[in-house]
């Protein structure tokens, strides 16, 4: 067995040192009736690389890979081109096979990249500080709501209808047990976001208002008024960014005075991967730093005065505080954070801005082309790289039918909101730098065929 270096002789020698006559003696604490004899039934025996590779390739072939066909899905996960060097970097054994940097003297590689990551995220979000990453955007969003509760000592969170429905689901699951009160509605097919409605919901019981930007329908709008209203009630504005590339083109939430900004970092470096692992981004104002969940990397000096980095503020964390911890989280998404920060380093501000404008303008061209189709109207007046089409019939069967034709047409609102009949005609379409003009034309012709 290729991963197990002990030879039968080694095992005998080691048992002799231990003073045991057999391996079974080492399992003496396991009650007789719980011990299994021989290999577990109903499972295959060990196999070589060739056989395993054949098995996994067969499974992989039974999926429609996005790169093999026109592809327009977004809604919280975006297909961007990841430079080849990013994957090379994260495959360096010293990054890939390292543990959490609990021994900083021999983990400066991981720690410095996390410090750089935190700085990039804070600057991207326009906030003071950021943590070393969370599981993903949806769990980061809930953690932000809990953090707002800790800060404000209030339990009512107002969620924008433009917040990703999965993020809302995660919050609702948790709130049921934590007794937080969530104010939440499904979106309407309207060019304007629900900003005005939200203003009315904010009161002195409110811990926070949670707004996605751009929102689930692709709409972008200024959050400054919401921040002002929230702050006037001593509540917080939490902004949620599921497409960080957008912030290369549009104002950062921090610039609109958001208190906490969370997001999904998958767009940069990570890839689609059927939904995971992704990387949650989490930033906030300096004054709330000690209430922030998750790992933090901080700068310090060593015994010789040289700059170095350590995990810090761990007194907030579960391994010290146990049941009093700010969160039960004990991992970050380290390798995905590395991919994110390496991709961001390759881009730099110049590349990020170019990438963002390339996404946006390709989306503008695509939106105009698709809106020309009889039976389709464009919902959005403004957007980044994703917009909502309103079809003259239910979008969901059309999406399925086009998938059979090897066109992945977008995300139907019927998939995201199965209970909301009013949304059934909605189709959310994302366009990135990986989308070609031919892809758009192929989609347009296919939609024309379905709607004719």
């Amino acid at each position: 067995m290729r991963y197990l270096p002990l030879t039968p002789n080694d095992r005998q020698d080691m048992l002799a040192t231990i003073g045991a006559s057999s391996i079974d003696e080492l399992f003496v604490d396991v009650p007789e009736e719980a011990r299994l004899d021989g290999p577990i039934r109903d499972l295959p025996m060990h196999a070589g690389e060739m056989a395993v590779e054949a098995h996994m390739k067969k499974l992989a072939r039974n999926n429609s890979a996005a790169g093999d066909m026109p592809f327009f899905l977004g809604a919280g996960a975006y297909r961007h081109h990841v430079p080849a060097s990013v994957d090379h970097i994260i495959q360096r054994g010293e990054f890939l096979t390292a543990y959490t940097p609990y021994q900083p003297e021999i983990a400066q590689g991981t720690l410095q990249t996390l410090f750089e990551f935190q700085t990039q995220v804070a600057r991207l979000f326009g906030v003071d500080v950021a943590n070393a990453s969370m599981y993903d955007g949806s769990t980061a969003c809930w953690e932000a709501i809990v953090m707002a509760r800790r800060i404000t000592k209030r339990g009512k969170a107002v969620l924008s209808s433009g917040l990703h429905p999965h993020y809302v689901s995660v919050a609702k699951t948790m709130a049921r047990f934590t007794k937080d009160q969530l104010v939440s509605e499904a979106p309407t097919l309207d060019a304007a976001t629900d900003g005005a409605d939200l203003l009315d919901q904010i009161d002195d019981d409110t811990s926070c208002v949670v707004v996605q930007y751009p929102d689930i329908l692709g709409r972008v709008s200024d959050m400054s008024a919401l921040a002002e209203k929230a702050h006037s009630h001593k509540a917080l504005l939490i902004a949620v960014v599921t497409e960080p590339v957008a912030l290369g083109a549009i104002k950062a939430p921090g610039q609109m005075d958001a208190d906490i900004v969370v997001g999904e970092g998958q767009s940069l470096g990570v890839g689609l991967q059927f939904g995971g692992p992704y990387v949650g981004l989490f930033g906030c104002k300096q004054k709330y730093v000690r209430q922030m969940p998750g790992r933090l990397c901080g700068e310090t000096v060593d015994a010789e005065g040289k700059r170095g980095f350590v995990l810090t503020l761990s007194t907030r964390e579960q391994h010290i505080r146990r049941e009093k911890a700010t969160s039960n989280i004990c991992t970050n998404s380290g390798l995905c954070a590395l991919a994110f920060t390496a991709h961001m380093t390759l881009l730099g501000e110049k590349g990020l801005r170019e990438l963002a404008m390339l996404n946006h303008k390709k989306a503008v061209v695509a939106a105009d082309r698709l809106a020309k189709i009889n039976g389709i109207s464009l919902l959005n007046e403004s957007f980044f790289n994703e917009f909502t089409l309103v079809l003259d019939k239910d979008a969901r069967p059309i999406v399925r039918k086009l998938a059979d034709q090897k066109i992945l047409a977008g995300v139907s609102l019927g998939r995201l909101y199965p209970d909301e009949n009013d949304l059934a005609h909605g189709l959310v379409v994302a366009v990135t730098e990986t989308t070609s003009d031919e892809d758009v034309e192929t989609l347009a012709l296919a939609l024309e065929g379905e709607l004719a």
Binding site: L15, L73, F115, S382
Partner: protein, 493 residues
């Protein structure tokens, strides 16, 4: 030579990517154009590769040497796993693609679920939890849902004092009160104390087995029975499943829920702190409450995704969704690759070799380091020592830093809390006897110095990329982001 930060060498005008020109159309950003500088510097590709390559060389990793962190299970990460996870049919599919276009992905999840259920002897598994602690949360929410479903509003979770810190934190995060149960002199749960505390307010227990002292809980079944008799449910922290995989099925021990760290037992890489993946297996009692989404196989061999919409038919008791999509697919492909590689016979060998290696370390060190529970019998996958006997004020920390100078990553320090100056050593099954012998030699050398009171240990490490780092200063006035030197200066005023 120290590697500068990208903020010190990069430039916002430099970029390591080339992009085609954007179409010449008016932008439609709602007047929200980002005008001010973002101030994120870029590097060319050459500089980027070099920056991260140099930084990587300041890290210790399994690929560099034995990594004896107890409770963390740093075993070899096979490269075939990495290759398989990168097949475009896995890496380049969107979580919201129509299910007919991702049948292979759903089958992968289904197959992995089947392995996990078979290995644990449990009837159900929730695949979406993102990490071990997230899996704990999943299990506790299921327990709470099950109790609520029978109208039973119990408020207390019992946790042994040797538990992972995540256990009480999770219970609290889910709204429970947490109470400790003491350990007995053999490092196990005190069964009598547990029984005494059980009652109508106790929702359940969270037990780690094998426990954090590296010992199997021989009374596990009795504990489960007692908790069940008292109307509670049993959560098992499965972080140490690698010690028993293939030899013991938790389902046979009366456990109701247990998370499995794919990044420990099933070799997916730790990546410097994640991503993890923490599927949770459930007993029949908890199966109806498992979270969405999950995968079912229909009679005709089709794979079906049960999510919000479809759950109403036959899974109406689910406690809901824990994450945006389907969990850590990239880890699933790696873990399934690992399982197929080992097979039922190989996985049994894994736990046997892991336990053999740990006992070999235990018996090779117990004359020199106090091993609090060694007399009571063998350990499982990790060996536990204390710092009793160190002189001249030397501590476990000093020994750990001394090991760094010997070329090793230290063992886990000061955990579990039940042992003074605890040192928890887990060699894992992927180390050769020669590698372990060499490590034992180093550990004996440093332990000898600690007992002899060698002053030099207090300032170790001496040969690492950094000397001891000032963690107090870091926490007192946290610097979490880089600032231009001018701002540094101001901040210091």
């Amino acid at each position: 030579v120290d590697e500068p930060l990208i903020f010190e060498t990069g430039s916002p005008d430099r970029s390591g990517v080339d992009l085609p020109a954007a179409p010449t159309v008016e932008s439609r950003l709602g007047g929200l154009d980002r005008d001010e500088p973002i101030s994120i510097p870029g590097l060319s590709e050459a500089e980027t590769v070099r920056h991260y390559t140099r930084l990587s060389r300041q890290n210790y990793a399994i690929d560099v040497g034995l990594f004896p962190l107890g409770s963390c299970t740093m075993k070899h990460n096979p490269r075939l796993n990495e290759k398989m996870a990168r097949l475009k049919g896995f890496s380049d599919i969107h979580p919201l693609q129509p299910v007919d276009s991702v049948q292979g992905a759903l089958e992968t999840i289904y197959q992995l679920a089947d392995w996990l259920k078979t290995l644990t002897g449990m009837p159900a598994v929730a695949m979406s939890p993102k990490a071990g602690a997230h899996g704990e949360l999943c299990g506790i929410l299921a327990i709470r849902s099950a109790l609520e479903a029978r109208g039973d509003a119990r408020e207390v979770i019992l946790v042994p004092e040797s538990a992972h810190g995540t256990n009480p934190a999770t219970a609290a995060f889910a709204g429970y009160k947490v109470e400790d149960i003491p350990a007995n002199a053999n490092g196990r749960v005190d069964l009598d104390a547990l029984k005494a505390r059980l009652g109508p307010d106790v929702a359940g227990v969270m037990i780690t087995n094998p426990n954090t002292c590296g010992l199997f809980e021989p009374d596990m079944k009795a504990i489960s029975d007692a908790v069940h008799d008292a109307g509670g449910l049993v959560y098992c922290d499965g972080a140490n499943f690698n010690a028993i995989v293939g030899r013991v099925r938790p389902g046979d021990l009366g456990i109701d829920a247990m998370h499995i760290n794919l990044h420990k037992t099933f070799s997916t890489p730790h990546g410097g702190g994640g991503p993890g993946s923490g599927p949770v297996v459930f007993s029949e009692a908890l199966e109806p409450f498992a979270p969405l989404p999950f995968v079912e196989k229909t009679e005709d061999g089709h794979f079906h995704l049960v999510e919000e919409e479809t759950a109403e038919d036959h899974h109406e008791s689910s406690f809901g969704r824990m994450v945006a999509f389907h969990g850590q697919m990239g880890m699933f492909t790696r873990a399934l690759t690992y399982m197929l590689s080992h097979g039922a016979d190989g996985l049994k060998q894994v736990s046997e070799d892991a336990v053999l290696n740990a006992n070999y370390v235990l018996r090779s060190m117990e004359d020199l380091l106090e091993a609090p529970f060694a007399k009571s019998g063998p350990c499982m996958h990790e060996a536990l020592f204390s710092d009793n006997g160190f002189t001249n004020g030397l501590t476990t920390l000093d020994l750990a830093k001394g090991l760094i100078d010997e070329g090793y990553h230290p063992m886990t320090m000061y955990f579990p809390l039940v042992v003074h100056g605890a040192m928890l050593v887990e060699p894992t099954e992927t180390e050769s006897k020669a590698a372990i012998d060499q490590f034992i030699g180093a550990l004996r050398s440093v332990a000898g110095r600690a007992k002899a009171g060698d002053e030099l240990l207090k300032s170790a490490p001496h040969f690492a990329p950094r000397r001891r780092l000032d963690e107090t200063q870091a926490a007192r006035k946290p610097i979490l982001v880089w600032q231009e030197p001018e701002e540094y200066a101001e901040a210091a005023e």
